[in-house]
């Protein structure tokens, strides 16, 4: 299965809640980037492992994550 996870990065507040619920531990905070709000945004480290469970999207308080699968 191929999955696609899209983050509305500009709106991420770097709260890290999404990183705690990923069963594959592939949602991480990208410390190399600072977004417009001044936070390190969340991203996916290895999309090939994603199972499109949408746990990260469900817990995101700011609803910035969209999950698709092919």
């Amino acid at each position: 299965m191929t999955a696609k996870v899209t983050f509305n990065t500009d709106r991420c507040k770097g709260c890290e809640l999404c990183t705690t619920v990923c069963p594959k531990h592939i949602v991480v905070i990208d410390t190399t980037v600072i977004n417009r709000k001044g936070y390190h945004p969340a991203t996916v480290s290895d999309i090939s492992q994603c199972i499109a469970c949408a746990s990260c999207a469900k817990i995101c308080p700011d609803s910035i994550i969209t999950v698709e699968k092919f």
């Binding site: 999955a3 696609k4 709106r11 507040k13 770097g14 709260c15 890290e16 809640l17 705690t20 619920v21 936070y39 499109a52 469970c53 949408a54 746990s55 999207a57 469900k58 817990i59 995101c60 308080p61 700011d62 609803s63 910035i64 994550i65 969209t66 999950v67 698709e68 699968k69 092919f70």
Partner: protein, 248 residues
């Protein structure tokens, strides 16, 4: 390509003003998803409180009204009585509902007003700067209980769901939290059930959601979730507090 999950149409595109990791965003999203799934976005009417969630009227894409502090149940009573076929809900924090608005919520529940209240309990006053709330736990440090809350001085924390469950007009009271995915799913089911009971004209429905306040608790969002699990859930047990069977 199939979309597995995207932002619900029940929320507007306005950016939330909440602090990073604040559970308000998750809870409002669940309410909005339930309204969308039940096809009530065109008919639902929300009554927003005073507190951190004061701006919720900008976030829900339904008709909303902003009530005076604690008075959301009184306003919702008026709306529901004028529009008895439309879903009406209040969204209130613990300072709003359990402190200044205690009278309004108790009497709305007593009268069995047919609206739903979503009560956010994070054991502190968030917007005003982290003062002690009626729901603050014993020993919890806030700006007005710097040595920790004591029962001698402030009494024991109030359990609103249990208290309202004693009233005959309250047909459904459940306490949930949004700490992880299983609990988020349970919380959404509880909110949906409350709206279903409301639309069946069964009576007053009450969902208490345990929440976090990372900023005023002085923790990271992840630490705050753990603190909530370790400290709040033992005192505020999760589950259905009351479910009255519908009279046939």
């Amino acid at each position: 390509m199939a979309v597995v999950y995207e932002k619900t149409k029940g929320l507007t595109d306005v950016e939330l003003h909440y602090c990073p990791g604040c559970n308000h965003g998750i809870i409002q999203k669940l309410v909005a998803e339930v309204l969308e799934e039940m096809g009530m976005l065109d008919t639902a009417i929300a009554v927003c409180p005073v507190g951190c969630s004061v701006f919720a009227y900008k976030y829900f894409s339904v008709d909303t009204l902003q009530a005076a502090h604690g008075r959301a149940p009184a306003v919702a009573t008026g709306i529901k009585r004028c529009r008895p076929t439309q879903p009406v809900f209040t969204y209130q924090g613990d300072g709003d509902l359990a402190s200044i608005g205690t009278g309004e919520i108790v009497h709305a529940a007593m009268r069995g007003e047919k609206f739903t209240t979503i009560f956010i309990n994070n054991a502190i006053y968030g917007m005003t700067g982290g003062q002690m709330a009626p729901t603050t736990l014993i020993g919890q440090k806030t700006t007005t209980s710097q040595g920790g809350r004591t029962a001698e001085q402030a009494g024991m924390p109030i359990r609103m769901a249990e208290m309202l469950a004693t009233l005959d007009g309250c047909v459904y009271a459940e306490r949930v939290c949004v700490a992880d995915i299983p609990n988020i799913n349970k919380a959404k089911r509880a909110i949906k059930k409350a709206f279903e009971k409301q639309m069946n004209n069964e009576g007053f429905t009450f969902i208490e959601v345990l929440s976090t306040c990372p900023t005023n608790w002085g923790m990271t969002p992840i630490q705050a979730v753990q603190w909530m699990k370790d400290n709040m859930i033992p005192y505020y047990p999760l589950g259905v507090i009351k479910e009255k069977a519908m009279e046939v």
